[in-house]
Subunit: 264 residues, 2 copies
């Protein structure tokens, strides 16, 4: 397939590289910043463009610009007729519905990889969940087959459910990472290298592949060890103490909440 | 070496199994609950006891009872003379100082494995940091050499620094796990299996082995994407919304804090 990428950020880069490796052709990479477009275009043998009017007609467009820029790009492409309004337009945003792109392109789909992408880190997409929601059966089949070039883990999921998954992912990934950041800051203040926590972090993440996280919970809060919690609070700055109290309270609440469904 | 375990919980179990595998002899396992003592004793070929007066004299005692029971056990053993007060007494608590055990046993050490232990999950201790703090050079050498039977990652660390590490570990492990729990609960309410997040959680944890977590941060808060954060808050119960706001605010604060030392 001939594919055009709109956007050249971390997600666009990793997905474009994976599609290229799978033998697809990336024709053009668009970014409003030409240097950014060129950086990705060079990696995948495509032409960089910074002007939407320069886009060629290709089999599919993968729209991976920033969430708050997606609609502007679609509107611009559609109202100016830079590409056919029958073009296949896939977007990669976890929190944008299918309806929002279908307003501009009848043959559209959500093509959302549930993974965290960083600039200078290769990521294995082979088992990353790709969540697909498409405007028609025909479009769905194309989106699923394109996702299968990259990952073995492709599901159909409507936009309402996908927003729930995206919200859950913020806790499981972004917020878990912020807990690592606080730990790193606490250690750094005593000149202790953060790497001392690496085996523990690795094990904590691995553990929940075999058990529900509520059952995997350890530490002073789940044991109700008030002495240690009090000592910890005494060592923390007010910002971190507030987080410590709130999360500890939530651990105790979840320990005792019999309504939590523990399907995996 | 002949080793006696005081305590038969998750930490005692995993450390005893590792020492047994390394060829050490576990003579007795003590727990106030005889059935618990027997469960671990059977696994490591030791004698179970539930009465401190039945303890035999061995080369070293590893005291791994609950934090709030440690001192009572030491006091009991020492004041009743059940074992020599020149016995080697090592304790495994991250948050208890060396002084607290040295009051009762002159030849004592902290023998703290920085890892998270669960009942039904084997854990690889071969690279788990063992943090040692000992009452003398001679005792330190014995503790270090015993830890080296289990792990290649053994450090000397005073009790003040170890308490900092223990506090950081609560954030990096216990609180990160609570973020997984919240994600699981959010998904469960829509009957979405938690396993969908496994590749993301794995990657998020793996990422910080190569970069500082503040630099690895992704998501709406670090991007300052107010629209998505507002939509997320609208979907959350008040408990989770409060955590969402507080952690998002902390992500923004840490993004902009130039005083964070990023040594690894």
């Amino acid at each position: 397939m001939n594919v055009t990428f709109l956007g050249s950020g971390n997600l666009a880069t990793h997905v474009a590289l994976a599609l290229k490796s799978a033998g697809e052709t990336i024709v053009q990479v668009y970014s409003p910043n030409f240097e950014h477009a060129r950086e990705l275009a060079d990696k995948v043998g495509a032409e960089p463009v910074s002007d939407l009017s320069c886009l060629k007609q290709t089999d599919v467009y993968i729209s991976a610009v920033k969430d708050n820029a997606q609609e502007t790009v679609w509107q611009n492409l559609s109202s100016n007729g830079y590409i056919h309004d029958s073009s296949l337009m896939f977007h990669t945003s976890g929190s944008i519905g299918l309806d929002e792109v279908r307003k501009y392109f009848k043959r559209s789909a959500v093509f959302y990889p549930l993974q965290s992408f960083s600039k200078h880190r290769a990521v294995d997409l082979s088992d990353a969940p790709f969540l697909i929601d498409a405007s028609s059966k025909e479009t769905e089949e194309i989106a699923v087959s394109l996702a299968h070039k990259i990952s073995s883990n492709v599901s159909i999921m409507d936009s309402e459910k996908r927003k729930v998954v995206h919200l859950a992912a913020v806790f499981a990934s972004n917020f878990a990472n912020n807990m690592y950041s606080i730990a790193a800051d606490i250690l750094g203040q005593d000149d202790i290298p953060f790497s001392i926590l690496a085996p523990l972090i690795r094990e904590t993440a691995a553990k929940i592949e075999g058990m529900h996280p509520v059952d995997a919970q350890t530490g002073p809060a789940v044991r109700g060890d008030m002495n240690i919690m009090k000592a910890h609070l005494g060592r923390l700055s007010s910002n971190y103490a507030e987080i410590y109290s709130m999360v500890s309270g939530n651990i105790e609440r979840m320990r005792d909440d019999t309504n939590i469904k523990k399907q995996r």
